[in-house]
Symmetry: D3
Subunit: 134 residues, 6 copies
């Protein structure tokens, strides 16, 4: 583990339930997407039919969680001023959730597709943390 990780502030948090509690963090979507990428890699490396079936079952669940976490950010965290400041934000979320679905991580076991999803989540994460600074 690198020092930067050890030093990241533990108490910086940010609304992910619908009270709303005010705690949101794109890390939730990212961790599930990392899981998808790892599942894809293990799928590609295996020729055991039962293992591959299990990988598809789990990838389906993880991808659903990615979609859910992203939808929550899009609906619950981001407000009108954010969408005005970042005019591509709607499209970005729509593309990211599509990339987690049938035309992306659900429909493919290619780690490269998971990488595309991770890159979209990173774009969203970057904007998210910019809005948290203000």
């Amino acid at each position: 583990m690198r020092l930067a990780h050890l030093l990241r502030p533990r108490t910086v948090v940010s609304a992910h339930c619908d009270l709303p509690c005010g705690v949101y963090d794109p890390a939730q979507a990212r961790i599930e997407a990392e899981s998808i990428k790892a599942v894809c890699e293990k799928y590609q490396a295996s020729d055991d039919a039962a293992f591959r079936t299990r990988a598809l079952i789990i990838k389906e669940q993880r991808a659903e969680l990615v979609k859910h976490h992203l939808w929550v950010l899009w609906t619950d965290y981001f407000k009108t001023p954010h969408f005005e400041k970042y005019p591509d934000l709607h499209t970005l979320f729509n593309e990211a959730t599509k990339l987690a679905g049938a035309s992306g991580a659900k429909g493919s076991a290619d780690p490269g597709v998971a990488d595309l999803l991770l890159a979209k989540i990173e774009q969203i994460s970057k904007i998210f943390w910019e809005t948290k600074q203000n």
Copy 2:
């Protein structure tokens, strides 16, 4: 946002599904526990009966997620050598999950109880990241 946060490595990941994918991260439990703390604070600050009921409904769900994420770490990530190296690890997880349950965050709307839960998760997180370095 502080620099340390910006600099934390995005690609350091760590198994949270049962393929297993090999991606685990105590941040999943911590984010839910932060949510619980924020819910407790809003609960204490409100005297609206319907709002308080909603806070309890949501807190119950978040606390269940904390328990789930911790159980997954305890069963799926940590192995015999870890338990030998950290003899208190079983007790630590048992106490942390109890602190998320009826005798802790589920049974109380005191932000201080959420703080105790967060502190336990931080202890687990510290051990987790130590084991990732080896």
Copy 3:
């Protein structure tokens, strides 16, 4: 609603799972929203504390289902050409899902708020059925 819509054959169906199966129907969101409205009306008509708590528990679940069904339509059914033809579609979905959340049907037990949500869903439904005719 136009007559053509009223008379559309019941067997014409349209994708709501992520195979994708190709079966989508805004009626799924509408039925849950109607449920929310009915729950709000019963909540307002009752002064029994336990009944009101149960109403809030159920309203929370129904509102979550509304959000989910709308998110699925937004991500899985609607494609780039739709968003080009209906430039307000992103905003419409974002507002509709917000109206199902903390700032709308989850946060309020006012049947009028449920009516606002139903009106948004009707707007989405109208566009949905227009796109199905082409």
Copy 4:
């Protein structure tokens, strides 16, 4: 289906949660069953092993939803007078839910089996709407 049914106002609604809210609609079961039929057709048209596995995963979930929606109608909407007026109603629901399970849509990827399920749901729907007219 009778014209009166086709023309019934969309805002007439009728209990599908356990408050009860009083909003029930067999369309919920029907939409999921249409999804199953579409999944079966795509399954039969594909020879891609991963796609077929995903189709089975999704079909399993959709069929569970069909069962759930039908069970809710049977337990929560229909009352003793209905069962007296329609003596075959118990059997109809039992057969319909069996047709969604292992001996039907779960156990088979034949679109013809999905058609049998849809026909049973249509029979239930017909009775449901008759009871709503009184």
Copy 5:
């Protein structure tokens, strides 16, 4: 309950998933119903508003599980010959699931209502074990 039942070997099991696996046991519904009764008793013994709200949240979940376990038995375990031999079986299940719903254990915090539910489950259980002996 007969002695033969009490002494039946623990390894004799009987289908509760939809493969079907062939393992069914009314104990699943009974345990949840016992939980409901205990929740009702604790609800009645408490005058703490937050505790009572939590009791209602949990009772709602447990009652849903009772309904689910009973529905599975009714649809998946019992076959046409059983319904012919026990003509009241449909009604028994319909009444039992209603007793777990809004007009029963969900809608009431009276331990006596939970007792009525438990008695219905016991009637079902008795028939279930009779059919297993043949």
Copy 6:
């Protein structure tokens, strides 16, 4: 199993929700594990690809339920004095839940693995009922 256990009155119950209600029963984990064993046997006896895929889907769900029921016992039922009296209890639960996961019943379709899981659950069950006698 001792006679006293076999003869224990059915109405003696013991907490499996987080009120807590005080009703716990290792039978919940055991029934799901029996289901897993039956699924494995049917999987081994079949050479139908779709059936085997369905068996893996269902086994994954059942194994998750085994883990959940065991985790609840470990966190919610067992207290410090139990862990002091049975020093191997932590390890027993950790091994049992691992046996339900990727390195056990999830990762294998061998009925022998399910037997190992059932044996662990029986060990836990024995201790559980001993603690209930005091």
